[in-house]
């Protein structure tokens, strides 16, 4: 964690279903790389954080300081990937579902 950049970026997170108590009915995968977003979205924001126009203006308003109480934009997932999960339903039949937005591909300031 010590050498992660301060600016908004994707951070590594592996989610183990056993940690959240779902492993009894999830057959596969046992764990997956979910990632998460964290970091600053301060003015001036570099292009790498892909700010929306609104986020850019919000950061300027905050930097100028005339309007009090405006927070900096948030570092949130931008592009995300789906994940197929094989699990047992209540009747112990095997079900396959493809859940969208399960792992982070890119982060952005919004």
């Amino acid at each position: 964690q010590w050498d992660e950049p301060r600016v908004c970026s994707r951070r590594y997170l592996k989610v183990d279903f056993a940690d959240i108590g779902w492993n009894e009915w999830i057959i596969s995968p046992k764990s997956f790389d979910a990632y998460y977003c964290a970091g600053a979205c301060e003015f001036p924001m570099p292009k790498i954080v892909r700010p929306s126009n609104h986020a850019t203006i919000q950061s300027i308003v905050r930097a100028v300081g005339i309007v009090p109480g405006i927070p900096e934009p948030c570092c949130v997932p931008d592009k995300m990937n789906s994940l197929g999960v094989l699990f047992l339903d209540e009747n112990r039949n095997v079900v396959l579902k493809v859940y969208p937005n399960m792992s982070v591909e890119t982060c952005a300031c919004r």
Binding site: K14, F17, A18, D19, I20, G21, W22, N23, E24, W25, I26, I27, S28, P29, K30, S31, F32, D33, G84, V85, L86, F87, L88, D89, E90, N91, N93, V94, V95, L96, K97, V98, Y99, P100, M102, S103
Partner: protein, 338 residues
């Protein structure tokens, strides 16, 4: 990024699959015939579902063009000496739009018994000739649907003639209209009867050969916020349910080591609880610096021990050093002077 399968009854069956590299199975449509015969003794539902999962995980091929595949196992009962298979489809969600439904069954050629030609009286002792068996008997698939707990046989939804296969193999039939119509009428209990027209032949099959149904669907609610919790966040139905355990309702049976620690009682200092036990063999307990436990790139300056302590330490080090090095008194005095 996917790890090995959870240790569950399925993993044994599915492991069998992973080890078995049947080239034929890895090709073509899963709903097509496969050549696994009874000798394969694998749980076909598990094998089929795992194959769909791997296909999606590796190549992103959406199963049946949708985002959900539900498998339904058969419950086998004998009705009028015939095996009837019941499928409980109630676990299907309202938001799941059925795309296709397939019925998978294992069939073998069924040869009728050889027919005996009537023996003429006069030629009684002549061996009676047996007529060659006729063509393999045709099989029919009959589907009925019923709502829960109705006693009737249910409404006939479809009948299919089956072409007897040259040898035993798994076949698949598209039963989408049957399942869609039954669901529309709210009759989510489906029965399937493999009827070959001959009595007594409906001998129950081993469960591994029991037919199964796959329903490919598109779940419209899967893009809703929190959809993963709607289907996967459950309260552990297998737990004994002892409220005393204080565990979170959907906690897994095997307690995992928490990565964070709970402060037991008011915080007195910033030390992590449970870390102040010193190893018994530590020589100078009061010199035992806790921060030496954490590898820290910045070494703190250690306070210099007093002159006497230094000399004593040197001797201890000396006494404790290897027995090989020892000096005579004169050398020692010189060294001390120095």
């Amino acid at each position: 990024s996917h790890k090995t399968l959870a240790q569950s009854p399925w993993s044994a069956a599915i492991d069998g699959l992973v080890a078995d590299k049947d080239p034929q199975r890895s090709q073509g449509d899963p709903a097509a015939t496969t050549s696994l015969g009874p000798g394969g003794d694998q749980d076909m539902v598990a094998v089929h579902m795992l194959r769909l999962y791997e296909k999606y995980s590796r190549r992103g091929a959406r199963p049946g063009g949708g985002n959900t595949v539900r498998s339904f196992r058969a419950r086998q009962e004998m009705v009028n000496q015939k095996a009837v298979y019941f499928f409980n489809l109630t676990s299907m969600q309202d938001s799941e739009m059925i795309l296709t439904a397939t019925f998978h069954f294992y069939s073998e050629p069924r040869w009728p018994r050889a027919r005996e030609a009537p023996c003429k009286q006069r030629a009684k002792n002549a061996s009676c000739r047996l007529l060659p068996p006729g063509p393999p008997s045709r099989q029919h698939l009959l589907f009925r649907s019923l709502s829960q707990n109705t006693a009737s046989q249910g409404l006939l939804r479809g009948a299919m003639a089956l072409v007897p296969p040259p040898r035993g193999l798994w076949q698949a039939k598209d039963i989408s209209p049957i399942v869609k119509a039954a669901r529309q009428d709210g009759e989510l209990l489906l029965s399937a009867q493999l009827d070959s027209g001959e009595k007594g032949l409906g001998v129950p099959r081993a469960s591994l050969l029991a037919p199964y149904i796959l329903i490919y669907a598109n779940d419209l609610a899967i893009s809703e916020p929190n959809s993963v919790a709607v289907t996967l966040q459950r309260y552990d139905p297998f737990q004994t349910g002892d409220p005393e355990s204080g565990a979170a309702p959907n906690n897994s049976a095997d307690p995992r080591v928490r990565r964070a620690t709970q402060a037991s009682g008011p915080l007195q200092n910033n030390e992590l609880p449970g870390l102040d036990e010193r190893p018994a063999h530590a020589p100078h307990p009061h010199h035992y610096h806790k921060h030496e436990l954490w590898p820290n790139p910045f070494r703190a300056l250690k306070p210099r021990p007093g002159r006497k302590d230094r000399r004593k330490k040197a001797q201890e080090v000396f006494l404790g050093s290897s027995p090989v090095l020892d000096f005579d008194e004169k050398t020692m005095q010189k060294a001390r002077k120095k």
